[in-house]
Every structure is written in C-alpha cells, then in structure tokens.
Symmetry: D2
Subunit: 108 residues, 4 copies
C-alpha cells in the first residue's frame, strides 16, 4: 500500500533509462561511481549534522536524500536492494538466536 | 513476506528496550545521538570506500550497516521511518509530474 | 620562507573581516558552524575518494581544500591552530617516550 | 621553534620504517590506502561532530587526529606535504590578486 524502498529502486531504474538529459538520476549515474559515491558521502554528512540539531523535518529530509543516494550507488555498483535486505535479514535472525542463547545462559 | 526496512525499525525498537547490556542497539542508543550519528558517518565512509572497490559483497555488507545505523539515528531523533518514506513518496510524485510537464513541453 | 598553515590561518582571519560579500571565507563563516562543518565533511569525502584513485594531483588539490576548511572550522569554533599543534607536539613527545621505553624493554 | 606540520610529516616517515609491529603508523600504512582513507574519513566525521558541540578541547583533539591521518594518507599516496602547501600558496596568491582586482574595479 505504502511507499517502499523497492518502489524507489524501481523508480531509479526507470529514471536511469532517460537519455535526454532531463533526469538528475541518469546524469548522476552517467558521471560514474566516483560522483555517485561522493554524493552519498555528502548526504551522510548532512544527515549527521541534521541528527545533531533538533529539527526533525531536517533529519527526515536528509535521511530521504541519503536513502535515495544509497540506492543510486547500489545501482551503479550492480547490487540489487534485495541482496542488502537478505543480509539484514540474515543478521537479524542471527542476533535473535544469540539473544535467545544469552537468555538461556543467564537463566543457569 | 520478505524483509522490509519496517521490520528492521521494529527490531531496533524491540532491542532498544533490552536493559541488561546484552544489546548493541540499546547500548548505542544509550550513548546518545552524538555516538549514533558518529557511527552513521563512519558506516557511510565505509560504504563510499566499498563502492569505489569492485567487491559487491563488501558494498552489500556496508550498505546493510549503513541502513541499520540510519534507523538507529532516526529512532534516537524521534523520526519514524514512515515520515522518511512519505518524504520520498512526495518527491517521487513531484518529479513524476515534472517529468510529465517536461515531456508535454518538449512535444510542443 | 615557504608557506605554512599559520599563513593560511592569518589569511582566513583577514578574509573573515571582509564585509562586502566578496569573500567566500567571510560568507562561509557568516553562515555559521553548521555550514562550515558541512563543507569540512564534504571535502573529507572528496579527499577519501581522491586518495582511492591514483591521481596525485587530485589528492593534492583535495587535501588543500580539506586543510582550508579545517582552518575555517577552527576559526568558527574559536580554536587557534597553535592549540592543535600543541596537542600534536604533546602526542609526538609521548609516543617518542613510549617508543624509547619499548626499546629499553625489548633489550632486557 | 614551534611544532610544524612538516615535523609531523617527518615523524610519520620515521615511524613508517618501524617494522617490529610497535608502530600504529607503520601498521596503518601496511594495511594499505583503503584503511588509511577510512581512518581519515572517520576522523573527519568526529571533527564535524566535535565542531557542532561547544567543547573546544574536543575540537582541538579531533583536529589533531584529522591532521595526523591526512598526513598518513598523503604518505600512502606519495604526495609530499610541500605539494599541498604549494597548492595552498598558489590559491592564496590568486585570491589576493582577485581581491585587488575587485578593489580596483569597485573604485571605478
């Protein structure tokens, strides 16, 4: 129903195919990974700065920028978002098992 | 069915409530926004470096770290992920309209 | 004879006093620490990216940008460069002593 | 008389030659540019965060860390500090000329 990161990934894929110069996404991807990674780093700096302020709207806007530029980098690097989610799911499952093990231990 | 960022957000909320010192998430949030933002920045640096290499597994793992630490920062800042997604959806809709407008123009 | 970081610090102090809008340094300082720190972070990202390439000219240019923006941040934060150099000198002396101690130990 | 960045550069060159594993500098350089650049990026994040706080001692300490790790990156990249200073001197001279030109213009 609601917007997902997969929607954004699909959107970026669609924009990447625009060849008339009207798409910021297509131009950024055309500039290569160096430029894509630079933008990701810059947006991370802005997110850090917004996080240290007390303006939630700024943190929201910068986080949106960061997610967008991360997906651009993943596309430039040939990594599907699903691979990142599989990694996150794997870690979550593992940390759940560790937590369970630790609870069992602490009962002894 | 598959893993979503909302699942990770819920997981972080659950871990944040662990008070016995066994949860990395709880300890990080306990250290305050300065530390959470520092970790976000460091993971962004590692993602940038992985992006410039040619190792997709490294980019996948660093992107997972970055997403996790972004969600920790959002929690520390009191911003629900849904607000960030609303912002992304709003921008996507707007850029779709601009694209449509630009196509209409270029037809003239 | 040659250029020093103190020369750059004095230059930034002189430029900071320019009030007719012609000085980038004065405008940046006028925008406040948030903007100065953001520029420092962005230049660091560019230095990291240049470092990972094999273009020495790019690394040289980005390092110059980084040093300049670090000195702007120090001025915005009211920290004289001499305080940073005292800290570096103190650490160097300490690590020299540790090295000497470690050499003495290893002789025993 | 006082400590200079050239002193730190010479110190790093001396430490780089330590092969018994006792030198942090030598180990960092041994890990390659990826690790050196990562540390530079991390220290920049910490400097940005310290700059946004109001603790001058923290900003002083983080700036010292940043300068040290920048010099490590320059060494790893084969760029002498003197090249960076030449670049800074060139820019300073140029901006001085532009300033003079602008003053001359504004007199007209």
């Amino acid at each position: 129903m609601s917007f997902t990161l997969e929607d954004l990934e699909a959107r970026i894929a669609a924009r990447a195919a625009v060849t008339d110069g009207s798409s910021y996404t297509a131009r950024l991807l055309g500039d290569g990974m160096g430029k894509c990674a630079q933008k990701l780093g810059e947006e991370a700096v802005e997110t850090v700065i917004a996080a240290l302020g007390s303006d939630r709207a700024a943190l929201t806007a910068e986080s949106a920028d960061l997610l967008y530029h991360l997906l651009v980098v993943l596309r430039a690097g040939g990594v599907p978002l699903s691979s990142v989610f599989e990694e996150l799911e794997r870690r979550t499952a593992q940390s759940g098992l560790e937590e369970k093990a630790s609870r069992t231990e602490s009962r002894e």
